[in-house]
């Protein structure tokens, strides 16, 4: 299984005997679980010994949509973290999972997570100045968002570079979600259109940098098609 810790980042380890019904660790060694565990260095893979469950985040399992958002969060961490690197995003991951079970706004929480995690992982989108010319984004003309260029594009550069349209309200929402206290992101007023655009822009940005589609979001699309967000 894959562990993610503050000190050691992403780590692959095996938990022997965990599939047995008598295993005391089976309930704890589940996705999303916050653990304190003893990991012994192995020749090929490290071995998980004692496990203390700090939070199972069991309430995630009560709502399919929230569970899917949480899966997306783990998927992004797993895709961006490299074995052996420090887990700088660990407190952010923990805070995000707490907010998801506490019944906050799951969509905005996940958007805030994505923006902050991208920054921590070295993929921060440029939102303050034009990432093409380095000039101000200005108050007039249509802005663009281009993952290959690294973020927002001013109206002048946008004519030649291209990218998805970026409304100034959505840009302001992105800046707020990136910088405000994550516990306060639910206070942001975002219309359904703003939310859809935020999600689409960040999804394209993440998929461009990860170089693969996000599986959890594909499942979320299925859920939405069948009704109920």
């Amino acid at each position: 299984m894959t562990l993610f810790s503050k000190e050691d980042g992403k780590k692959q380890a095996v938990a022997r005997g965990v599939r047995r019904t008598s295993s005391r660790r089976a309930g704890a060694l589940q996705p999303f679980a916050h653990l304190r565990c003893l990991v012994a260095r192995g020749r090929q893979l490290d071995v998980i010994g004692q496990v203390e469950l700090l939070n199972s985040f069991a309430r995630l399992r009560e709502d399919l949509t929230v569970l899917t958002w949480a899966s997306h969060v783990l998927e992004v961490v797993d895709a961006t973290a490299r074995d052996g690197e420090q887990g700088g995003s660990f407190p952010l991951l923990l805070a995000t999972l707490h907010l998801l079970i506490e019944g906050g706004d799951p969509e905005l929480t996940v958007r805030a997570f994505e923006l902050r995690h991208l920054s921590a992982a070295g993929f921060e989108p440029e939102l303050s100045v034009c990432c093409r010319c380095g000039g101000p984004l200005g108050d007039h003309g249509e802005l663009r968002f281009n993952p290959a260029e690294g973020g927002a594009i001013c109206a002048t550069c946008g004519r030649t570079v291209g990218g998805a349209p970026l409304r100034r309200g959505v840009l302001a929402a992105m800046l707020y979600l990136k910088d405000a206290d994550i516990r306060q992101v639910g206070r942001l007023f975002a219309s359904n259109r703003d939310r859809a655009e935020l999600e689409a822009l960040l999804r394209v940005y993440l998929e461009f940098h990860l170089d693969r589609p996000l599986r959890s979001l594909t499942f979320l699309d299925t859920l939405r098609k069948e009704g109920g967000r």
Partner: protein, 197 residues
Amino acid sequence: MLPAGVTRLIRELTRLPGVGPRTAQRMVFFLLARPPADTRSLAEALVQARERTCECSVCCGLTEGDPCSLCSDPRRDPGSICVVEHPADVVAVERTREFNGRYHVLHGAISPLDGIGPEDIRLAQLLRRVKEGGCREVIVATNPSVEGETTAMYIARLLKPSEVQVTRPASGLPAGSDLEYADQVTLSRALQGRKEI
């Protein structure tokens, strides 16, 4: 060093779950030490099982005849369908002798993290069965793991518009176990699902 046929057999056996090169080698030497008739019998059993076994067109379980013996048994209640992840789970539920309905085998569970969606398991077949009518209750006996819970919630969501009751087996302490050694998740679920005595 070893004859080509032996090396090939070792390589083929290592493709089995839980079998590494050393275990495979031990198995091959054991088989070579047995009388040829034993090895032939094993080979025939393997080929026969693979060739004769198919998926039941009703429950998607494994069978030699279609529909399977469980689906064609008139004594079993067609109004109750127990949904399980794998064919082996049917055997586990049958051993309890507590269930007299029919089964549906999904051959997996939804796992957004692994990219396994509803279209990758036998969910469409379950929906078709429920829509055909005659079903009162669907018992979602998928594993109490995140993937199993995701699948259960998804099935409940899909079947909500129909009048079919969707239930989930209770989860709690295993019989004969010790409370002191129960993990926190199991124990908290057991407390949530407590019954008056």
